[in-house]
């Protein structure tokens, strides 16, 4: 049994699931990391993602085109993010309170919308919901082992990985990224350099909305073609955790997101062994706690520290 489990850790199917289930986390955390770095204390990821998942389904169901679904998801994401921005950046409400309110409201709102639009409770599946179609990756498929890990995926999966490099470049090679980092560290100093903190926070908030919305629709249109109540199940918070542990560096953020995805994949594979499903499904969350603990230990010194 122990040997079986050990072998499973490197199964092509384990890594394949990791590769796919990391996608929503990557979009969410990479899209949000600019907003996070700019000093917005935004935790409304669960909310934006859930709306994105639902509106992806709505868009796809009514037009038959998953890409229009994706656009709808990004649009609603931006709208929700702007509501968040209106409260926190314009009216200076407490961002945690607004975030909690949005997150808990989203479950009810999306369920209500699902019931009133489609008349079904719990979950909504319909042949009319068109998912993204798999790419023809015959070149990759031929590579042994790697082929079955990476191949046969939809386009948004590959784009998510391209986004790691793009985010890194934007964060560290462009004035935009530099200014975002500056605004987050010393708002007054940025203002004296003629940089409006509000403007940069708003721009990055729009990015967050768009990409977290997209990440939601990857859940609902990535393979299953369905929307179910609270289908994000904590993935929004995993994005927040990846961003915090990754500390504003897109590459580190992506690695943490991949780690979370991997533990998720492991738990899925382990259930097939007949282990207690409920127990196994705690693995990703335990992974979060362990990662936070390890990254916290680095900065723990024992005594208070003025320099820190």
């Amino acid at each position: 049994m122990g040997w079986e489990i050990l072998k499973m850790t490197v199964y092509a199917s384990t890594l394949g699931i990791t590769f796919r289930s990391a996608v929503p986390l990557l979009y969410g955390s990479l899209g949000g990391c600019f907003n996070q770095t700019s000093g917005c204390n935004n935790i409304a990821y669960e909310c934006v993602m859930l709306f994105g998942a639902l509106f992806g389904v709505i868009g796809s169901f009514y037009t038959g085109n998953p890409w229009i679904g994706a656009l709808c998801a990004m649009g609603i994401g931006i709208l929700v993010a702007l509501i968040f921005g209106m409260f926190t950046i314009v009216f200076h409400s407490n961002s945690i309170v607004v975030g909690v309110a949005l997150n808990s409201g989203a479950w009810a709102m999306t369920t209500l919308l699902m019931v009133s639009l489609f008349g079904s409770r719990g979950s909504f599946t319909d042949p009319g919901i068109i998912s993204f179609s798999r790419l023809n990756t015959s070149l990759i498929d031929k590579i042994p082992y790697l082929g079955s890990v990476l191949g046969q995926n939809v386009l948004p999966v590959y784009l998510a990985y391209a986004m790691i490099a793009v985010s890194y470049i934007v964060m560290f090679k462009t004035p935009f990224g530099l200014r975002i980092r500056g605004v987050g560290q010393n708002e007054v100093a940025a203002e004296t350099a003629g940089i409006s903190a509000v403007k940069y926070r708003m721009i990055s908030l729009v990015m967050m909305g768009a990409f977290v919305g997209l990440s939601g629709c990857c859940l609902s249109l990535g393979g299953l073609s369905m929307f179910s109540e609270n289908m994000t199940a904590g993935r929004g918070f995993l994005c927040v955790a990846s961003m915090i542990v990754g500390g504003g560096n897109p590459i580190k953020i992506a690695l943490v997101a991949l780690l979370f995805a991997y533990s998720d994949a492991m738990s899925q594979i382990l259930t097939t062994l007949g282990l207690n499903g409920l127990l196994v499904s705690t693995i990703p969350y335990i992974a979060v706690i362990v990662v936070l603990l390890i990254s916290g230990i680095k900065s723990f010194k024992g005594t208070a520290d003025l320099e820190g």
Binding site: K173, L178, A189, T303, L306
Partner: protein, 518 residues
């Protein structure tokens, strides 16, 4: 006429609620000169400069540049027009590199969207070379000492194309050698055609560097003079409105038993480097012990260990009234009667976003009451806050105002007042008069002497050698983490202590004394 002035500020008025911070101020600055701006704490110097850089909008008044009336709307436009400022509290991003700090907001681009690293770097290096600055571009800000940060700020202003450079109390964070470096840079800048506006509380410096001096008092200009028309005393009385003699009057009184005893204390810094090496000394009740030393010799770590902000190495002993307190937390130490005035007033001394009354009891809310068991006693708090404000002349409007709205010197007075008015047995004081005007320095010095006379043990760690020498009953010199004896009050001269501070040996110093005696 007016075109010989690069800058003219005309009839500037600025109020904050009922407080008039600037009242009909006129300031004319000639190109290629150093124009000093002096005045008491809260006189309105920083406010006037914030108006010039357009961080604040004046209620009325005009700013003319090169004989033309300006109409700036944002700080950016002021910066583009060549007005650069090095703020009293630095405007830097701690986790970014020096290079990123300098270019932020003014990046050279290629391809429209990417930072052109080469062009930016070449421009910075050109400036550093031209004005002889030597700064490490790839280090992070938080790794650098303050003197370096100041150079970064100046280079940053030049990078943004500053023609007029405002330095707001640039010397209050510098050591004597840092000040010499700064003055060299200022002369260089002026020689190459830049104009400097220089704010300082140290009149000696003003005389050394300024071409013109404008004195502010209570938001008004009281005089504009040339340094050869007036002397230091005259200037001080213009500023304060009375005669000031900067001389501590020490009282002779017997010392009690030791309140603080330090034995074999060693402390490592955050990076694990040993910064305090096997140090032993004591402070007796009623005694003022001064620690002199070049900045970065281990003073910071010493004080942090004494106050419980940093754990000492094993084998170290810190005894307060004979009891070991190695493991006591800062809160416990305050309860025992140890007060602390930190060097970094905004970072460690106050919470800038909290009110004045909250800051007045901060740290003492457990130690010395203020609470009727569970609740805060607001009447007592108000009374105590008013005592600080009255006795230490803190210029403020209401006790409920945020501390951040106070002027730099007034924040310092608030911190000093809070610690001095408690019934402490030991006071650890770092740079008590940093950024404070001459009138108030006189007062704080007399307070320190008074406290000692009433039996409080006092440890002063100051970067002002003069302050240590004027106040201390016994001088300790710290060099490279080791402490050597600097003698009793007036035992050694300033030059001899200076030698010790640079690592000279006591025997050399005594040799000097003997040579002089022969």
């Amino acid at each position: 006429m007016s075109d010989e002035y690069i800058l003219q500020m005309k009839h500037i008025r600025k109020t904050f609620a009922r407080l008039v911070a600037n009242d009909d101020i006129n300031l004319d600055v000639r190109k290629g000169t150093v124009h000093a701006l002096i005045g008491e704490n809260g006189a309105g110097k920083s406010t006037l400069m914030r108006i010039l850089t357009h961080i604040y909008k004046p209620d009325s008044g005009e700013i003319w540049l090169n004989g033309q009336k300006t109409n700036f709307k944002t700080p950016l436009e002021a910066a583009r027009a060549g007005i650069g400022m090095v703020h009293q509290e630095f405007m830097l991003y701690n986790n970014l590199t020096v290079y990123d700090n300098i270019i932020l907001g003014f990046e050279e681009k290629h391809g429209g969207i990417f930072i052109d690293k080469k062009a930016c770097r070449a421009k910075i290096e050109g400036i550093c070379e031209k004005y002889q600055f030597n700064i490490p571009l790839d280090e992070k800000i938080k790794e650098l000492p303050v003197a370096m940060l100041q150079q970064v700020e100046i280079v940053k202003a030049l990078y943004r194309g500053a023609e007029i450079l405002i330095l707001d109390e640039p010397t209050s964070v510098l050591t004597p050698s840092g000040i010499r470096g700064l003055f060299k840079a200022i002369r260089f800048l002026v020689d190459s055609g830049k104009t400097i506006i220089f704010i300082s509380h140290k009149l000696g410096e003003v005389f050394e560097i300024a071409d013109t001096i404008t004195v502010l008092k209570d938001g008004k200009v009281v005089a504009t003079v040339r340094p050869d028309e007036i002397d230091e005393r005259g200037l001080a009385s213009l500023m304060v409105g009375r005669e000031v003699i900067l001389q501590a009057e020490k009282k002779d009184h017997p010392f009690g038993p030791p309140v603080l005893k330090v034995e074999n204390l060693s402390v490592r810094d955050k990076e694990g480097i040993l910064r305090v090496k096997n140090v032993s000394f004591e402070v007796r009740a009623g005694e003022i012990v001064g620690v002199a030393g070049v900045a970065g010799s281990g003073q910071q770590q010493l004080v942090e260990a004494l106050f419980g902000l940093r754990a000492p190495e094993p084998g170290s002993q810190i005894l307060f009234e004979g009891n070991p307190i190695n493991r006591a937390t800062p809160a416990q130490r305050r309860c025992m009667g140890i007060g602390y005035v930190p060097q970094d007033r905004l970072g460690a001394g106050v919470n800038g976003n909290a009110s004045i009354w909250e800051n007045s009891i901060m740290g003492y809310h457990i130690a010395h009451g203020f609470s009727s068991k569970w609740l805060l006693n607001h009447r007592e708090i108000e009374a105590f806050t008013d005592r600080i404000v009255d006795q230490f002349m803190v210029k403020r409007q209401k006790n409920s105002d945020k501390v951040r709205t106070l002027s730099g010197g007034n924040i310092q007075k608030l911190v000093v007042g809070r610690e001095f008015l408690q019934e402490n047995k030991l006071l650890i004081i770092e740079d008590p008069t940093r950024g404070i005007d001459v009138g108030a320095i006189e007062f704080i010095w007399s307070k320190i002497i008074e406290l000692a006379a009433s039996g409080v043990g006092i440890l002063i760690v100051s970067h002002e050698l003069n302050e240590v020498l004027q106040l201390s009953d016994r001088v300790l010199v710290i060099y490279n983490g080791e402490i050597s004896d600097g003698g009793r009050y007036r035992e050694y001269t300033e030059e001899q202590i200076g030698l010790l501070m640079l690592g000279g040996k006591l025997s050399d110093v005594q040799g000097d004394v003997q040579n002089q005696n022969q």
